[in-house]
């Protein structure tokens, strides 16, 4: 080994250590930012180390790629609004996975004849995971952005088609291991994996996006780890594994928060099922006038806001903070209740509210806040539906039975801000809306909240 190779390996080791420190910093908002600076330093060191340690013959492509990538990356970092965070994250899963898949194809093109069996199987995994994550993430991003319809796309025999695609992919993988030089087999594997990624995500509805995002995150990480195995590069294995496991842990947490298994999310085709008469809901929804709602809030002593995806679509995060501050100035205690799967990705609501300057000390997790609802005067539900559906708790026949919910229905009174009278993404009727203590306030969440704030000022 030459001196420059030692230097390169040293930067890789440093980068690995700094990455772990960065994730450790994530355990608290106070230390998180400093941790990320360490990771950035580690990344920079590893890049410089590589450029010094590897014998580079053509700089053109490297410089072009780094420049274009930096410009697009910086543009994304600065201009992407917080409400578009799920789409951005899905896109970045696609980019990461594509990079892994392409490195795999390049390695195959250059070295397929001299590859031992172990490297070959790692290469197969890398290309397969990379390709299916790329197309899967692009579909997810399209759904989140609204380019593709958010409702699950389903057809008869879909699970059979998916299973066949999966088996085809597995078969080509095995054939590839046996015939490493057969380029046709390798590229067919790649193509089938691209198709499988599409098939995997199109039947999944928007409400299940938090799970899908976490799963794709995991796959993208594992693809990077597989790249590490192919190249015999430890820092790639470490960083990829950290990413893969982070995504895996999040998937498990999200599934728990919906009381469903990963298989059920992937193959259940939830959200398309129109609820039969399994719901206990019935009766009339009571509408409330804006001024009455404002009055109710202004004279309450404890108010809890419950945001859902509707808050994000209406971009109402600033409006809710303004209303909350006015109430606090009147001496009302205001808290926010965040369900783990509210929104389209893990932690979605927290980020939106943080953007609107809501202090994170007012954001409460489900387990913390649920005991407080009975002593709450008004719970304000903003564009959330399934996460506050009492049927999940009370009606064992409900499609979402067993899903832990925010127990909004135990509050003394509830005001629900909703765009219209329609059902939520799961298509379920929500008995909360028919309860005597619940009042409905229809309209765009942002303008409703702004008008509420004005009305509160005049009380």
């Amino acid at each position: 080994m030459t001196l420059s190779t030692y230097f390169m390996e040293a930067t890789y080791l440093i980068a690995s250590i700094l990455f772990v420190f960065a994730l450790k910093g994530m355990s608290h908002p106070e230390t998180a930012r400093r941790g990320m600076f360490l990771a950035e330093g580690g990344m920079l060191a590893a890049i410089i180390g590589t450029l010094i340690g590897v014998h580079i013959v053509t700089w053109t492509w490297i410089i072009a790629g780094l420049t274009i990538g930096s410009i697009i990356g910086a543009w994304m970092a600065i201009w992407v609004p917080m409400t578009a965070m799920p789409q951005r994250t899905a896109l970045s899963h696609a980019f990461g996975a594509l990079a892994a898949a392409l490195v795999g194809v390049g390695e195959f093109a250059a070295k397929s004849h001299e590859m031992p069996g172990v490297t070959r199987s790692a290469l197969g995994f890398e290309v397969m995971l990379g390709a299916l994550t790329t197309t899967g993430s692009l579909i997810a991003a399209g759904k989140l952005q609204g380019v593709i319809h958010g409702k699950p796309i389903q057809f008869k025999g879909q699970n059979v088609v998916n299973l066949v695609t999966f088996l085809a992919m597995a078969t080509f993988f095995v054939i590839f291991l046996a015939h490493p030089e057969a380029a046709a087999i390798f590229y067919t594997l790649l193509a089938v994996a691209f198709v499988f990624g599409v098939m995997l995500v199109i039947p999944i509805g928007s409400a299940d996006m938090p799970v899908v995002m976490s799963l794709l995150n995991s796959y993208a990480g594992l693809a990077a780890a597989a790249t590490g195995f192919v190249l015999g590069n430890n820092v790639l294995i470490i960083a990829g594994t950290l990413d893969g496991f982070s995504g895996f842990i999040l998937s498990v947490l999200m599934c728990k928060a919906m009381n469903r298994s990963i298989t059920n999310v992937l193959f259940g085709g939830f959200g398309s099922v129109i609820a039969e008469s399994t719901s206990t809901a019935g009766g009339v929804m009571r509408e409330i006038a804006l001024d009455d709602a404002a009055m109710q809030l202004a004279f309450a002593s404890r108010v809890i806001f419950v945001p859902g995806y509707g808050l994000a679509t209406a971009q109402a995060q600033h409006a809710v903070r303004e209303l909350a501050e006015l109430l606090e100035d009147r001496g009302v205690t205001v808290k926010y209740a965040i369900h783990p799967v509210a929104g389209r990705m893990p932690g979605h609501m927290n980020v939106l509210l943080a953007e609107a300057n809501v202090p994170y000390s007012s954001l409460y997790e489900m387990e913390q806040i649920n005991p407080e609802f009975p002593s709450t005067d008004v719970a304000v539900v903003i564009g959330a539906n399934d996460v506050v559906n009492p049927d999940a708790r009370d009606n064992p026949k409900s499609l979402i039975a067993g899903m832990p919910i925010l127990e909004v229905d135990r509050a003394r009174s509830v005001i629900v801000l909703k765009r219209g009278q329609g059902r939520g993404f799961s298509g379920l009727e929500n008995p909360l809306f028919f309860k005597p203590c619940t009042a409905m306030l229809y309209g765009d969440a942002k303008s409703t909240l702004t008008h509420l704030a004005q009305a509160v000022q005049h009380v």
């Binding site: 994530m26 908002p29 990356g73 965070m85 294995i237 990829g240 202090p359």
Partner: protein, 106 residues
């Protein structure tokens, strides 16, 4: 990859998985979105594999071009990922200071 290297790699993988589990299960739900974008940026380390493909000797031209695309997308992830993570974390950090000021004012 010869057997000793493979075994060492599997050790690295297993230990990283264990360490990842320990560290990441302590991240509060509050920071789950920044966590996802941070781990994404970190796994942009596949950039170093892309750099080799784009520029090193012993690769055909075709591979250099694939490498170029990979360098581009990986760089987008690194620069965009770290940038946006920092933007989010800054929001979470500032909050405390502001609410602190407010408490003092009262």
């Amino acid at each position: 990859m010869n057997p000793p290297v493979l075994i060492a790699s599997i050790y690295v993988f297993a230990l990283a998985a264990f360490l990842g589990y320990q560290v990441i299960s302590r991240v509060p739900p509050l920071l789950h979105t920044p966590l996802m974008s941070a781990t994404n940026a970190i796994s942009g380390i596949s950039l170093i594999g892309s750099l080799v493909l784009a520029g090193a000797a012993h690769y055909p031209n075709f591979a250099h071009i694939l490498g170029f695309v990979a360098v581009t997308t990986a760089t987008i992830n690194v620069v965009g990922g770290f940038g946006i993570t920092d933007r989010m974390l800054k929001m979470f950090g500032e909050r405390k200071a502001k609410s602190g000021d407010k408490a003092v004012a009262k």
